[in-house]
């Protein structure tokens, strides 16, 4: 009962804060803008992508449709969406320190562990709602504007997925993307546990993400050895469902890695939080 009350209280705090809707607002502006621009540009978008292939292959009809646009927009999950998520996740604990409201919360007859988990669960709820909103808006609007069709996937070659086989892949992709973004949110939450300003966790999370993404692509032998162990090497699990056949064992392995990272960062954040002296 107490946990439900705490979770409700944390959700009230998070979802009645203007900052929470900054990410939603940006998506609400950017996704329609990009999709409308793509609709206006039309076939030129796929034309540019296929130019080199057209020398060897002959394509009949238009491959430009809502699915391909929605698939392209998923690339925002690399950096842009993590940034927006860290705005809120990084504020969950540090925001209380900045506002001085730790002094209200932590003198109550409820354990710090419960407060911590209520806050962490709220962060995950926000992340899932946010990724769900991105998926619903980007896929829904793309289909309304540009209709359906076969999905052209450029990854280690070219793959054409028939229109009837695409919807479930997007659904699964956004579930997996939610998992990836939950790891990002957990890292921001971890940094939030030991600072007193929400800017720090945002900068630290994005710094780690960008550095590890660079490490992940640089052709250096040392980096190649550590690459499989970096969480950034598993962030793109959503891409796995746009393969044929889908390598589920690879997806499960990445899910396990991401879950391990989330658990480790959450445990570290919990240890810091329950021992923390509240001096603000």
């Amino acid at each position: 009962m107490t946990m439900i009350l705490l979770l409700r209280a944390e959700c009230i705090k998070t979802f009645l804060k203007k900052r929470t809707y900054l990410g939603f607002l940006i998506i609400l502006l950017v996704v329609p803008l990009v999709e409308i621009a793509m609709k206006i540009e039309g076939g030129r978008f796929t034309g540019a992508s296929l130019r080199s292939l057209q020398q060897d292959f002959f394509f009949v009809g238009s491959l430009f449709n809502g699915w391909i646009v929605a698939h392209q927009l998923m690339n925002s999950l690399w950096v842009h969406i993590p940034l927006l998520i860290s705005f809120v996740a990084g504020d969950q604990l540090a925001g209380e320190a900045t506002a001085g409201t730790y002094r209200l919360l932590l003198i109550r007859p409820v354990s710090r562990t419960r407060i911590f988990f209520a806050k962490y669960l709220t962060t995950l709820v926000y992340t899932i709602v946010f990724v769900g909103f991105l998926g619903a808006l980007s896929v829904g609007l793309a289909l309304i504007l540009m209709g359906t069709g076969d999905l052209l996937v450029f990854r280690d070659g070219i793959l054409i997925l028939p229109a009837s086989d695409v919807a479930w892949r997007f659904f699964a992709a956004y579930i997996l993307a939610g998992w990836s973004m939950a790891t990002i949110a957990t890292i921001a939450f971890f940094f939030s546990s030991f600072v007193e300003n929400a800017i720090g966790p945002i900068v630290a999370t994005m710094g780690i993400l960008i550095v590890l993404l660079i490490v992940g692509v640089l052709p250096v032998e040392l980096f190649e050895a550590v690459r499989p162990y970096l969480f950034t090497s598993h962030l793109n699990i959503w891409m796995g469902v746009f393969a044929d056949p889908v390598d589920w064992s690879d997806i499960l392995r990445s899910l396990a890695w991401l879950s391990g990272y989330s658990a480790a960062f959450a445990a570290a954040a919990w240890m810091i939080f329950v021992r923390k002296d509240i001096l603000t």
């Binding site: 107490t2 002094r103 003198i107 409820v110 354990s111």
Partner: protein, 304 residues
């Protein structure tokens, strides 16, 4: 009578700086306990340890006989408090803020929220966002949240800080009301001796982390020597006349443009008559207790 709040050799050290050292306090049921000390004396650090915001370096705090360190939830169940300035979720209404705090106390009824808001005079502003509140209103909302779970012990850390005289008076009246009408035990920290004198029955003084004195306010104020400061002209005549009354005045000395006499306050009217009759133009006669002198000297040394 068993103590509601006890500290046992409570200490806190931040790196090399000792903020509180071997503090032993005892608050009894029904007390309005004044916790007095100049700024930086260690009052807030002590309160933070009492309410489990910071972990003591040594010692323990027991609330209702339960250790804050090992039985935190049970120890805090019958306690409400406000630590330093009252900070809230500014973007939420007073009611929403109290709902959130209520959730941390296991849930409180909406009627209880309005009851405490009524008690602190904020019923009309219940649905307004806290960011529109003045400092005094936030201070009163701070007291409302401290009372939300109907605690037996209310810990108030400098609740009149930053308030105008009228606001200070209102808070003092509220504290008296809580103690007398509602039967609450109040632990009140302040850096103002007159404030403690006005509301507390027992008190402790802390200075640079050490407990200086603890006991009944009346006893502490009456204990030791009483001093009277005379201001007027001519100063030498005042000193001579007072020094001649050896049965009334124990010691006389000149301090700058004042004469300080060690004597009992009940002799003031007789001495004033004598001085006036001998042509002294008196500007002021200020009774000062040794505790007040002592506290003033502590405050001055802290400020320096």
């Amino acid at each position: 009578m068993s103590a509601i709040l006890q500290t046992f050799n409570l200490s806190k050290t931040f790196r090399e700086r000792t903020a509180v050292r071997n503090l032993n306090l005892e608050v009894l049921p029904g007390d309005v306990f004044g916790f007095l000390g100049p700024n930086g004396a260690g009052k807030s650090t002590t309160i933070r340890m009492m309410l489990s915001l910071i972990r003591p370096s040594a010692g323990d705090v027991r609330l209702f006989g339960r250790s804050v360190l090992t039985e935190r939830s049970h120890a805090l169940a019958r306690v409400g408090g406000i630590v330093e300035k009252p900070d809230f979720y500014l973007y939420l209404s007073a009611v929403r803020n109290l709902e959130i705090i209520g959730a941390l106390c296991g849930g409180v009824k909406r009627s209880r929220i309005f009851e405490v808001l009524e008690l602190v005079g904020l019923r009309e502003r219940a649905l307004d966002k806290v960011k529109t509140f003045s400092h005094g209103m936030k201070q009163r909302l701070g007291i409302a949240q401290a009372l939300l779970n109907d605690p037996e012990l209310v810990v108030l850390d400098e609740p009149t800080s930053g308030l105008d005289p009228q606001g200070m008076k209102e808070i003092r009246e509220l504290i008296k009301h809580l103690a007398r009408e509602r039967g609450k035990t109040v632990f009140l920290s302040s850096h103002l001796l007159p404030e403690i004198e006005l509301v507390a029955n027992r008190m402790a003084i802390i200075h640079k982390g050490d407990l200086v004195v603890q006991g009944s306010v009346a006893d502490l104020l009456e204990s030791g020597e009483q001093k009277v400061v005379f201001r007027g002209t001519p100063l030498n005549r005042i000193r001579r006349l007072l020094a001649a009354r050896k049965t009334l005045v124990r010691a006389v000395r000149r301090v700058g443009t004042e004469i300080h006499a060690t004597m009992e306050f009940r002799h003031i009217p007789d001495l004033v008559k004598i001085l006036v009759r001998n042509g002294v133009k008196l500007e002021a006669v200020i009774p000062r207790r040794s505790l007040e002198d002592f506290f003033l000297s502590m405050t001055e040394s802290s400020a320096a």
